[in-house]
Symmetry: C2
Subunit: 167 residues, 2 copies
């Protein structure tokens, strides 16, 4: 507080002996956010690989699955459910519609909103994709026992369950 302005610690040893090329995270490994990000990176990489053949992105997959479970779901429903904002839903559904996987049906009762439905092609594809996704999860978590995998899932859900600050 009293001495220097930028305090550049000039007496540092300029790297006499080098560290091994990969060092461990130390304190970092204790950080939940870091662990989550790393784990997600890995799981998503496997997912991408599994979906590459069908050129499906994670958000597209999620949308397809929700639409399958709730035929006629509206775009605002989707936005809420997936915690993404409306403009994102637009381009998402556009991409699905262009590929003939889903379609918008203007709602009779409230002509502002669109119900979204899967086409037959979409239905067939999502069935296939769910299998691939399942397998991709298993691949990505080889080191986990079935019990651990379930534990992990339960804990993760518990983390994001309370979306208090999800404004």
């Amino acid at each position: 507080m009293t001495t220097s302005k930028k305090t550049p610690s000039p007496e540092q040893t300029p790297l006499e002996e080098a560290y091994p090329t990969t060092v461990t995270g130390l304190v970092l490994e204790e950080r939940l956010g870091y662990a989550l990000r790393r784990a997600q990176l890995k799981v998503f990489k496997h997912f991408d690989e599994a979906m590459r053949e069908h050129d499906i992105r994670p958000a597209q997959f999620s949308s397809l699955v929700v639409i399958e479970g709730y035929p006629g779901v509206t775009q605002s429903n989707l936005a809420q459910t997936l915690s993404i904002d409306p403009p994102r839903v637009v381009s998402l559904i556009n991409s699905l519609e262009e590929r003939g996987l889903a379609l918008r049906v203007r709602c009779k009762r409230d002509r502002r909103s669109h119900g979204i439905f899967l086409t037959k092609t979409g239905e067939a594809l999502v069935e296939r994709l769910k299998g691939l996704a399942e397998q991709s999860d298993l691949d990505a978590t080889q080191l986990l026992s079935e019990i651990e995998r379930r534990q992990l899932l339960t804990l993760l859900r518990k983390v994001y369950a309370s979306e208090e600050g999800n404004d």
Copy 2:
């Protein structure tokens, strides 16, 4: 296979009764990648909030912590350790250097590489940030007991431990 070309399922009920504004993910909730993403979103949101005052991004925090643990670490070390690519490290260290938190010291033995060190300001800040990050993790996982939090961390590490495909 025999009838239509795009199969737009025209006989669908155009959303007679609407779904509640937020529907549950169903199958989606069973997907590890989805749960990971949602949990990460929440944890990162808390982190952002905690760091806002200091205007520190997750990657900057991670870098600071690693540099603190390994003074004189090189940029390639960092890239390896954090699984990010070299150009990203450049801008990361630039931002830290511009703010007087870290500095590059050209290595005497191999003048191609830079050892990275924290300034006194950087050291002071990272100490403060670690406390904030710790608290932010706790806030983000209120619903978890201390045991569950440790379990979660262990499981996550186990997931990303084997970075076979991290080419």
